[in-house]
Amino acid sequence: MAILIDEKTKVLVQGITGKQGRFHTQQMLAFGTRIVAGTGPGREGEEVEGVPVYDTVEAAVERHGANASVLFVPAPFAKDAAFEAIAAGLSPVVIIAEHVPLHDAMEIMAFAREKNAVVIGPNTYGLCTPGSRCKMGIPPNTVFSPGPVGVVARSGTLSYEIVQSLSAAGLGQTTVVGMGGDRVVGVSFVDILKRFEKDPETRAVVLVGEIGGTAEEEAAEFIKQMTKPVVAYIAGRSAPPGKRMGHAGAIIERGRGTFESKVKALREGGAQVASMPWEVPDLVKQALG
């Protein structure tokens, strides 16, 4: 077990013929991901790293039974590609691109809700279930190890940092999910926490949040009902209000989304909150007892 993806996941790579798509297809294959097909409009009949390329998602699904998709298409085309994947019944649909327009993101999420598809991203590194050797996205292959800790994060490199520190401490992961750094993204902390709570293999959860928005506060509400321990780290304690810290969502606007509010809510929800990222593994170890 694990959440969202496992060894049965037949991955489609949309935009496989682009530079990024090609490179990460190779990386994902090296990790062990079962990539069954790719798409590249007008490129049907080609192969990328031995993976057959089709003009449409429909064709890739018909021929290879793909059931999940990771998108390496540029931001202006992400909406159409995501719609194509969602309409074809694929889930999860992982959108790597940065700079997807906000209104496009809202439409993608509304369409996904209508079709019961799980969308991860945009502006995410994706997700990984180390025990199934299944990775959809761009994180480095080296940081993961199988184990009992579920990880969910907003940001990329900070995730790798923490996941690697967990791995180094002997704390492997069930599934690691990057929600994405944009304002409007698919799965939320709560969506993922619910799945980790239900997943029998996950014994503790690490939540890596940051300032801005209220996703962490909403997560804190849900954590109250969880039976599994949650360890959190929130980046951005020293970020000033009104300055967007790289991520579209990472901004303290109109007094909302402050570090203090998040830490307070998480503590009240029953989570252990680490002051610094390097404190996370010890807290997880304590939580696992």
């Binding site: 202006p76 439409e107 940001s155 900070l158 940051e210 790289g246 610094m276």
Partner: protein, 372 residues
Amino acid sequence: MKFYEYMAKDVLRRHGIPIPPGRLATTPEEAEAAAREIGPVAVKAQVLVGGRGKAGGIKLAETPEEARRAAEAILGMDLKGYIVEKVYCEGKLDIDKELYLGITVDAGAKRPLVIASASGGMDIEEVPEKAIVRMHVPVPWGLSPYMGRQLARRLGLTGSLAGQFADILMRLWTVFRSYDAELVEINPLAIVGERIIAADARLNVDDDALYRHPDLPRVSEATELEKKVRELGLAFVQLDGDIGIMANGAGINMATLDAVKHFGGEPMNFLDAGGGSAAEPTAQALELLVEKGPKAILINIFGGITRCDEVAKAIIRVKEEKGIPMPLVVRLVGTNEEQGRAMLREHGIEAFRSMAEAARKVVELARGGANG
């Protein structure tokens, strides 16, 4: 991208939303001429920061002469770091009541959100919760006219005012949607006798959707450095301290700032060299950072796809070609990390595996620099 008030008002006007008469002025003489044409005016600094009224950026003028003097006072004024270059001279309104009306994106609900209040004129933050009316807009249906009537009724508007309010909201929705806006706001939305008029306006367009709007004017509030960094595809935010920071990824960047602060240091900036952590952007970002002259620099690289030895090589090249006069601390982990750290040490650059140790060290060096 934020629009200046006068631009936002022009957009509203072209979409049929009533606004007061107004003219833009860049000199006191133009302001005087505007007031001669319009009558009594408010002379309003055109800046992208909020709170300009409290900061003296808005002055009332009964006569053209007063308008000239008001413009003289405001033009060139420093409002929160921004120099006022333009004033907007707008006909004074005899306001009976001020409403608030805005449309923004509710990230949690993943939908647009209409926010309205019968208590307008102040920052919506300061309006008591029970005086605020909220309504989500369904995607992809969009706003329907009946929603405007519902909102009007909840605000206590009746008869013609309710109809005008609903009409303005539909038009504001069209602006929000067709401009790919993050925020469009009328505050105050003024009731003047039997009419409703947009007395102030904000319009923020999603930067990521600007490519769809080639006809829109480009407005930038960024400093020259920020612009340069943005052109390189990097993200830079100026802070108040003296330790230059760079990391590859927004989250780890924030964490690095927090770590420096944790050990008693003061970060000078946020600088995201990109999650890809390629060697080239790292080098370019470092050059920019050196130019800013911090007391010390901390580079925190988690080498994912890119190899650490390549990153090290890029840093060394900057040191040799451009020179790095201040102490530099590098934290480097990932593929070929030991090789990378060894190369850096050979070139006299402090290199660490642990983020904590690197952060502690850079703070120490910056202090040393302050003492030395």
